[in-house]
């Protein structure tokens, strides 16, 4: 394994460790005693005390931190206070909504952005380019939750093609489930596609000006062939960097968009767990989201090495 990859891997582990400390500390100082909240405001003190002991809240913070992380490493995510079910099961259930949602949104983003970005770059300075750049500027300015509401207005209220929200579950079949995720995915993807299309366009334009592209064209390669064989691969580095960041944004964006469409995903779980003071769920779910973000960035680093062998050779 090259030094580059080893370094990236160590950073990956250190970031995860740091994230677990931050999440734990942040929720330590959260006001409101979860035992008090769960047992109700007028519960007798001994009941609250009992519950606190049962939840392990009477132990010192350091001990609780190690118990939590130790449990996570063994795949034991603890028991939710509010739902009284293992957090692992709870999160797995919600991920069945959030992960497909983020993946569909990412797929839509990539397809739309690469197509529009390449198209605009090829028509640099002409009407198609100016039009796409104008629309993308608008796309960046639109809040994803508002775009979600607009999609509901059009497709659920006006045209009545789809329900205004909710999720039938995968048991009802793949198509109804995907249909329920389609509008939220479009709402999430629009902003990201607008950003990525601009990045793709400028990356392609940048590479098109390089000497080796001129050489390739001088050797008789058609514009299209030069674009596909020489330009695209070289333009991919900035595009993939942004895509990695965007997947994180999409995952985080699900918190808001799941609330717009009443989808029972991880985002809504976090949101509800915060208001229920269901700390163990918040800790696990937030750490999981952060871990996914860090993991995606790690994969992006690995992809750099594949796309640009110079990085591996230099062992930067």
């Amino acid at each position: 394994m090259s030094v580059f990859l080893l370094k990236r891997f160590l950073t990956f582990v250190a970031t995860l460790l740091g994230a677990s400390i931050v999440v734990f500390l942040a929720l330590e100082i959260l006001p409101g005693d979860p035992a008090q909240v769960m047992s109700g405001t007028d519960a007798p003190p001994e009941v609250v005390e009992n519950l606190r002991r049962k939840l392990g809240l009477d132990r010192p913070p350091l001990e609780r931190y190690f118990a939590w992380v130790g449990g996570l490493l063994q795949g034991d995510l603890g028991i939710s206070y509010a739902y009284s079910t293992p957090v692992g099961e709870l999160i797995a259930e919600r991920m069945k909504v959030t992960l497909p949602l983020a993946l569909i949104a990412m797929a839509l983003t990539t397809i739309a952005a690469l197509a529009l970005g390449l198209f605009a770059a090829q028509r640099h300075g002409r009407l198609g380019d100016v039009g796409i750049m104008g629309v993308s500027q608008l796309g960046i300015a639109i809040p994803n939750f508002w775009f979600g509401i607009l999609l509901i207005l059009l497709f659920a209220v006006k045209l009545q093609w789809v329900a205004a929200g909710g999720f039938p579950g995968w048991e009802e079949g793949v198509w109804p489930a995907i249909r329920a995720l389609l509008l939220p995915a479009i709402a999430l993807a629009t902003v990201q596609a607008a950003i990525l299309a601009r990045i793709t366009r400028s990356a392609v334009l940048e590479v098109l000006r390089e000497d080796f592209v001129r050489t390739a064209r001088a050797k008789g390669l058609s514009r299209r062939r030069a674009l596909w064989t020489h330009v695209l691969r070289n333009a991919l580095i900035p595009v993939i960097t942004i895509m990695g960041l965007q997947f994180s944004n999409l995952l985080a964006g699900t918190i808001v968009v799941e609330n717009v469409f009443y989808l029972p995903g991880l985002g809504r779980l976090i949101f509800q767990a915060i208001s229920n003071r269901d700390l163990i769920v918040v800790k696990d779910a937030v750490l999981l989201l952060a871990a996914m973000v860090v993991a995606v960035n790690f994969v992006v680093d690995l992809l750099y090495a594949v796309i640009d062998p110079r990085l591996k050779a230099h062992d930067v």
Binding site: T15, A19, A141, W146, V282, L289
Partner: protein, 281 residues
């Protein structure tokens, strides 16, 4: 024509800058006007006149409490501007200081600042903001703090990168040779030379802060009633979607125009202040 006149003329001919400046000016003017005058009081409930369609007296209609939508939108601009200005101010103050420190000290200070900002980027902004407002409690001040904290690493990175380029310049070498210390050089030579980069970034972050405030308020974690905010207007409008769909349109347009204006203004300023960048965009 004077030099200033030439500069202003060049700026106004720049399409992004002109449109962006006009939209941003509109946002500021509406917010300023709403301090002195609105068609109706945005706090006055008038239940018999609830959910009226747009008409004379209520140009954009009334909401489910009978409040005038235009007045709510005008006052809502205040919340966006306050959150944007203060959150970006927090991010700029701490971020620029950290970035300048990293650049002036190099070595472990730079490593520490950069690793910390890498780390901050591992937490998506909206997730951190939701967690922070959950910890501190919902409200405008806490939303500002949450958004401001996320802005710190953004400014730290931008400042360090541009400051490093200035530190490599010959006039800085001359200043060092004449015995000036790192703090002196940073204040006298480095910061004045990177002001434009920071101002441009500040404009873009302002737009991001408006979006974040709207999202937090939509979720009920940001600006609290009765203070009007565009995000909460959208949340309220969503419950009325089948009876008065247009209520969900106006606040969204307001957010989009404000964000569009600031983004265009930032892009335009970047082009005008650094012509070298124009080629690649």
């Amino acid at each position: 024509m004077t030099a200033a006149g030439v500069t202003i003329g060049r700026a106004l001919r720049h399409r992004s800058f002109a449109i962006g400046a006009a939209l941003t000016l509109l946002l500021v003017l509406v917010a300023a006007l709403s301090l002195a005058w609105t068609p109706h009081s945005p706090y006055e409930l008038d239940v018999p006149n609830r959910l009226r369609p747009p008409q004379a007296g209520n140009w954009l209609g009334t909401d489910s409490f009978g409040r005038d939508v235009l007045s709510l939108l005008m006052v809502g601009a205040q919340a966006s501007i306050i959150v944007g200005v203060v959150a970006v101010g927090i991010g700029m103050a701490f971020g620029v200081a950290l970035g300048a420190l990293a650049s002036a000290r190099r070595g472990w200070a730079e490593e520490l600042v950069m690793r910390l900002s890498d780390f901050a980027f591992a937490f998506p902004a909206i997730l951190s903001a939701i967690m922070l407002t959950a910890i501190l409690g919902p409200g405008m001040v806490n939303a500002i703090i949450a958004i401001g904290i996320f802005n710190i690493p953004v400014f730290a990175r931008v400042t360090r990168a541009s400051a490093n380029a200035i530190w490599a310049r010959e006039f800085v070498l001359a200043a060092r040779a004449s015995g000036k210390g790192a703090l002196h050089i940073t204040l006298e030579h480095v910061l004045p030379n990177i002001t434009s980069v920071i101002v441009v970034q500040g404009t873009i972050q302002f737009a991001t802060a408006i979006l974040a405030e709207a999202a937090l308020s939509y979720l009920g974690l940001g600006t609290q009633p009765p203070q009007p905010s565009w995000g909460r207007m959208l949340a309220e409008a969503q419950t009325m979607m089948f009876t008065r769909p247009e209520l969900a349109i106006f606040p969204g347009i307001a957010i989009a125009l404000a964000v569009l204006g600031l983004n265009l203004l930032g892009d335009g300023m970047r082009d005008l202040l650094d012509p070298r960048l124009r080629r690649s965009r």
